[in-house]
């Protein structure tokens, strides 16, 4: 099996795994000697990547990666519709599901107890997702903070790359939830990626 064949058959889990590395690399470059945790415990935070700026002393950044095929309008179409009516109906049903799914994801990322929150999506689906996220809102009700959006460009056998499409703003964080992450994760577990002293 060639490398190209192999990457074409990746599961969503595997694609998101590769994207985790790309996102970690983006945060490593953007932040200052960050401590990076890959797939931290879901009981503390529902995110794929957690990065703590300034060697663990600074702000927390969390990224949720969503590359499911049903979030991408260009994937998953099994057959060609026989008529315009059928096409419109398929589109209506697909869009309703898409919108509902994005709504759930949006609620999840907006409630992450960290200072900077990001959603990472496929670069192909950015325009559609950004339009929908615009309806849902990148800002919380109190206006403090803005959701960041990262796009993942998958390039076959090449490593995927991550780019900052929407720059986040700092959220206000519930101190009790932040404390739980600090005491149960940051103080106890060694980061997956860090600058060694």
């Amino acid at each position: 099996m060639t490398v190209k064949d192999d990457t074409g058959k990746l599961t969503t889990r595997q694609r998101e795994g590769r994207a985790i590395n790309a996102v970690a690399e983006l945060l490593r470059r953007k932040l200052s000697v960050p401590n990076i945790y890959l797939e931290p415990p879901a009981s503390l935070i529902s995110a794929d990547v957690l990065a703590v700026d300034r060697g663990g002393a600074g702000d927390l950044h969390a990224v949720e990666i969503k590359l499911e095929r049903d979030l991408n309008p260009f994937e998953g179409q099994r057959r060609k519709p026989s008529s315009t009516k059928e096409l419109n109906e398929l589109h209506r049903v697909w869009y309703a599901k898409y919108s509902e799914k994005l709504n759930v994801i949006h609620r999840q990322v907006m409630s992450m107890p960290v200072h900077f929150r990001y959603l990472a999506i496929s670069a192909e689906s950015f325009d559609l997702a950004f339009g929908e996220l615009g309806h849902l809102g990148l800002f919380p009700a109190d206006g403090i903070g803005r959701l960041g959006v990262i796009t993942i460009k998958e390039q076959g056998e090449e490593s995927p790359t991550a780019e900052m499409a929407v720059v986040p703003e700092r959220f206000r964080v519930d101190p009790a939830k932040l404390k739980a992450i600090e005491t149960k994760l940051l103080a106890k577990s060694r980061p997956d990626i860090e600058v060694r002293i």
């Binding site: 200052s32 000697v33 600074g58 964080v173 060694r196």
Partner: protein
């Protein structure tokens, strides 16, 4: 007593962060900005040293003497029971300062990449030291 809230600390700490961030930007295109990256590596470490000395309750050294800066840091760490793990990185950066600032000889990219690594390691140690003493500085 908390020293990290003082105006002096904030000035040096913010300066150190800005210089370190600029060093990282230069590293993204090292062949084009190698000399700038090296200078920023050294000067971010000097500013971090000034900040950590204030954080540890000492005065920053007034002289330009590099040995005095290192011994002031060692003394402050020993007095306050802080490990010396990051200090060798600072020493290496200071020993390269004259070469990269005023030297006639070309400094190759490999050496500059090493200096940037020393600067990052010193920064990590400094951030950890301050956090252990004062808690999270940014929240």
């Amino acid at each position: 007593m908390r020293h990290t809230g003082s105006a002096g600390f904030d000035t040096y700490y913010r300066r150190a962060i800005q210089l370190a961030d600029a060093m990282r930007l230069c590293q993204d295109d090292l062949p084009a900005y190698a000399s700038a990256a090296a200078l920023l590596a050294v000067h971010s470490a000097i500013s971090y040293n000034d900040a950590v000395l204030i954080g540890l309750g000492s005065r920053r050294p007034r002289s330009e003497n590099h040995r005095a800066a290192v011994s002031a840091l060692k003394q402050a760490c020993t007095r306050e029971g802080v490990d010396h793990q990051g200090i060798p990185h600072f020493e290496k950066l200071l020993s390269a300062k004259t070469d990269i600032s005023y030297g006639e000889k070309h400094v190759d990219d490999e050496r500059i990449a090493k200096l940037c690594t020393y600067a990052e390691r010193f920064q990590k140690w400094e951030e950890r030291t301050l956090q252990q003493r004062e808690g999270r500085l940014s929240s």
